[in-house]
């Protein structure tokens, strides 16, 4: 399909602008003037509509396809949450910063405060800031809070511990805050190796970052022991909330001993993923870390009105333009109010049931590196298929031809040829059964006709793309 720039016709116009109701301004000084307009497309509105409608058809999406992309919680996004967010589209973020301006933005401020309190209860933390703009941004903010905590206590800290199964964002976020990383291997049963962790733990460790259940979909039963060991060294426990969908109403990270947490509203709380964002990554903390939270903080005044507080002198400062990705928060707030207590418990129960059903039905056909009851996702390995020259990526590409977005492949890094399936709670048994049949068919083809898998996908607008060429030529801008 041609680019919108290739469809451009010199002189063609799209949007009509209003006629000026004021006199034309004097020209800008010559040294400030742009001499040649930016070469933006010249298209009609219909050109535009056809182009982007055409592009949209070249995407798989949750609304169109089963999308069991492990670790990303691609659940169905309730449509009514869109209506909810639209109610707040026109509020200028500067409004509450004007003198007495808080009064004019009570709805928006109270929504953020309301969401923070709901998230605090859900995670067992004492206070939540919704300012971070995505999961990784929440992680970085959380590690900044931990750095501020240690600075205030004059602790000399240098390291952050992560398990080898962690999301790449964990070590990357800690590095952004200036920490060195210690990686702990996984034990043969899939959890972080407890002995290796004990041996690595020392007084210079600032924090331990864990995902629980981890990226293998396994719940670590020794989590409290890990928290205790860390706390003995005045290291703080960081909970990566990417997998919170598994434990809603079952476990609260705050109860277990975690000090800082981020949640991904676009995963657990059902907001659309947008082709790679916007997300939202609120951060929750225990009481002793509240003074360090980013400013401005949303608070409730004594008279019951919601408002802003700049943040204490100990605050890490501002991490986003304003109060966070408000539009995402509004959707998540609507989702939580809609589902309520029982609905959220049903989410984790059905998510775990669906994943275990997937595991039970596919275990005969694919190697299972860690044979335990899983939580919200299960991780297989294509090592059995590799004996026939078939890789996880070949199975993924075959699934595309069958109309499925593939599971996450090659992650976590500690599983060879990993295939990570997260069905989520919103998928029906029929959908999963059909997917399972496709997976079994892939396993059969791997043995009998592996070339069919190597050739996939054949039904898409393009076949497998030459990524080496893309990286070598670095053609990232047209013309």
């Amino acid at each position: 399909m041609n680019l919108i720039f290739e469809k451009s016709v010199p002189g063609r116009r799209g949007l009509k602008l209003p006629v000026a109701d004021v006199p034309r301004a004097a020209a800008l000084p010559e040294n400030l003037v742009r001499t040649e307009p930016a070469q933006l497309p010249e298209v009609s509105e219909l050109d535009l509509v056809r182009h982007f409608t055409g592009l949209s058809r070249r995407n798989f999406s949750v609304d169109g396809n089963f999308y069991p992309l492990g670790s990303c919680t691609m659940k169905y996004n309730a449509k009514v949450t869109e209506n909810a967010a639209a109610l707040f589209a026109d509020v200028h973020p500067m409004t509450p910063l004007l003198p007495e301006g808080e009064t004019s933005a009570q709805g928006a401020l109270c929504l953020i405060l309301g969401l923070s309190r709901l998230l605090a209860e859900i995670t067992g933390m004492d206070e939540v800031s919704c300012q971070p703009l995505a999961g990784a941004h929440g992680e970085m903010t959380g590690i900044m809070l931990i750095a501020a905590y240690h600075r205030a206590k004059r602790n000399k800290k240098k390291y952050v511990i992560v398990p080898d199964s962690s999301h790449g964002t964990n070590p990357a976020s800690a590095a952004m805050v200036g920490y060195e990383i210690i990686t702990i291997p996984s034990a043969p049963y899939g959890d972080m190796d407890l002995d290796a962790f004990r041996a690595a733990m020392n007084g210079e460790v600032a924090a331990v970052m864990l995902t629980c259940p981890n990226t293998l979909g396994l719940f670590n039963p020794h989590i409290r022991e890990i928290c205790d060991i860390a706390h003995e060294h005045d290291a703080l426990m960081y909970y990566d909330g990417a997998n919170l969908n598994a434990i809603l109403g079952k476990v609260r990270p705050g109860d277990v001993g975690f000090d800082v947490i981020h949640v991904n509203l676009h995963k657990t709380f059902g907001t659309p993923h947008g082709g790679g964002g916007p997300g939202s990554g609120p951060v929750g903390v225990k009481r002793e870390l509240i003074p360090f939270l980013p400013g401005p903080r949303i608070i409730k005044h004594a008279d019951g009105r919601c408002g802003l507080e700049k943040g204490t002198s100990e605050s890490i400062g501002r991490v986003a333009n304003f109060y966070g990705n408000f539009g995402v928060m509004a959707r998540a707030y609507a989702y939580i109010i809609l589902l309520g207590r029982e609905g959220l418990i049903e989410v984790s129960e059905q998510a775990v049931l669906n994943a275990n059903y997937m595991l039970a039905r596919l275990r005969e056909h694919f190697d299972l590196p860690f044979d335990r009851t899983c939580m919200h996702e299960c991780v297989f390995s294509a090592s059995r298929q590799l004996k026939h020259g078939v890789h996880a990526i070949d199975i993924a590409k075959y699934l595309i031809d069958r109309g499925y977005h593939p599971p996450t492949v090659y992650f976590p890094l500690n599983v060879k040829e990993a295939i990570m399936i997260e069905p989520t709670e919103t998928e029906s048994k029929e959908t999963m059964d059909a997917f399972i049949e496709a997976m079994i068919e892939a396993a059969n083809l791997a043995e009998k006709e592996p070339e069919r898998l190597h050739e996939a996908p054949r039904t898409m607008p393009v076949g497998r793309l030459d990524e080496t060429k893309a990286a070598r030529e670095q053609n990232v801008c047209f013309g």
């Binding site: 799209g14 000084p29 933006l40 995407n59 798989f60 941004h137 333009n321 309520g340 977005h405 709670e425």
Partner: protein, 442 residues
């Protein structure tokens, strides 16, 4: 409400396959002692009840006529932007890890990168960052990586919120952040040149700056380059319809907030941040980058490229920790720019300037009011009032006017000043009403 489709019968069948009799048994790997102590949330509601609740909340926001900006602008959003980005195929997809079934998102983001390059006059752009402020912080970190130096010089007339974000990001790194004080609404050139020592990684400026002044940055670019430092420029994309591009002025890294490109005010987010640079620095860019390539049959296609910079491959050695960015908002930006088009962006920028110049004349001629900007402005300008600006803004707020942003809290000695923003959405009548109200309030 529940979006879980399986019936009790199906749940029993599934449990039988798993070899369990109840869903609770699946949670047995979680020791009893670790179970939730509380989960005290309200009961769920229906769609209808939800909307009533939220409408009541939204009704507590008050509609104001906005003469405030500061990085977020009240522009018209063409209807086509909502309709096309609302297509679920864009809306409910995720990061295009599997390119064959994600060509829609990938091609759109490649087009977005092209639009940003053309707008800014730069050679390469990534596929978006979170917002303008975090983009500025990422640009600072990028400059530190490229130069291997540890000092950043930032002009105080850069948006104060963006500067606060940069400060937050730098706090834990061995980096010195030098702030150049502003002199009545413009970068203090001599102080800037003086601060430009041999260990400076980047000089960071904003154009138009927070006070609304437009400057030619060419000389600053030369001065920075002479010392081996990079020039990082934050820009307001709509202004680039009229103003010389940062690329032409010699910027090395250009950032900005994409809210004004088709994203609603939405109480501050989501919008997107953009970052663009020259080809030689592409490997130092943070975030996703889309590249063009071909498939086995020679058909053009697009993929995530140069992923070896990113956290999911490089982990702690990545150029940034960013994973999810703001794809859908960037798509809004692309559709906005294509809907407005080549000539349309020039006209839109002109219309903004026309309205703002009219307002500047009207407000500036009120007795006791002075326009602070010495040089040209785009659609924002700074007024000095004969009394405390916060008090005046408070008075006008009661009349439904968000008259401007008082500066006292952000700049020492500027308590009587406020920044006024006028977009194409403000009518002559609204501007006249503001002028009358301001005159009456003084």
């Amino acid at each position: 409400m529940s979006y879980c489709p399986n019936t009790p019968e199906q749940i029993r069948e599934m449990l039988a396959v798993i070899g369990k009799t109840a869903v609770d048994e699946l949670f047995e790997p979680i020791p009893r002692g670790l179970r939730a102590k509380s989960f005290n949330l309200p009961a769920g509601v229906s769609e209808q009840e939800l909307l009533v609740q939220l409408q009541e909340m939204a009704a507590c926001n008050r509609h104001l006529i906005n003469f405030i900006g500061g990085g977020y602008y009240d522009h018209h959003i063409p209807a086509v932007v909502d309709h096309l980005t609302g297509r679920a195929e864009f809306y409910t997809a995720y990061t295009p890890y599997q390119p064959e079934c994600s060509q829609g998102t990938l091609q759109a983001l490649f087009e977005y990168q092209t639009a940003i390059c053309r707008l800014t006059g730069m050679e390469v752009s990534n596929a978006s960052l979170y917002d303008g402020g975090t983009a500025l912080a990422e640009a600072a970190m990028m400059a530190l990586r490229i130069t291997g130096r540890n000092r950043i010089v930032i002009d105080a007339s850069v948006n104060p919120f963006a500067r606060q974000i940069v400060t937050t990001y730098m706090k834990n790194l061995a980096v010195e952040l030098v702030e150049i004080p502003t002199s009545s609404g413009s970068a203090d050139r001599s102080a800037l040149t003086e601060a430009l020592t041999d260990d400076v990684a980047a000089v960071m400026v904003q154009n138009p700056n927070f006070f609304g002044s437009i400057e030619d940055l060419t000389a600053i670019a030369h001065a920075a380059h002479a010392k081996g430092a990079l020039l990082v420029t934050s820009v307001y994309p709509i202004s680039l319809g009229l103003i010389k591009s940062p690329g032409e002025m010699g910027a090395d890294i250009v950032v900005g907030d994409g809210q004004s490109l088709g994203n609603p005010l939405a109480f501050g987010g989501p919008s997107f941040g953009f970052i663009a640079t020259t080809k030689k620095y592409i490997r130092n860019l943070p975030g996703r980058i889309i590249g063009e390539t071909i498939d086995r049959e020679g058909r053009r296609g697009f993929v995530l490229t140069l992923q070896a910079r990113e956290q999911h491959i490089k982990r702690h050695k990545a150029t940034s920790n960013i994973c999810s960015n703001q794809s859908l908002c960037a798509l809004r930006g692309l559709i906005f720019l294509a809907a407005v088009g080549r000539e349309g962006l020039v006209e839109l920028a002109q219309l903004n300037r026309d309205k703002a110049e009219y307002a500047k004349d009207r407000l500036g001629s009120i007795k006791g009011v002075r326009v602070l900007n010495r040089g040209a402005t785009f659609n924002e300008f700074t007024l000095e009032l004969p009394r405390d600006a916060a008090e005046v803004v408070h008075t006008l707020l009661d009349k439904g006017l968000a008259a401007g942003m008082p500066l006292g809290e952000y700049y020492a000695g500027m308590a009587n000043c406020m920044v006024v923003t006028v977009t194409e959405r403000r009518s002559r009548g609204e501007i006249d009403a503001l002028a009358d109200a301001l005159e009456a309030a003084l």
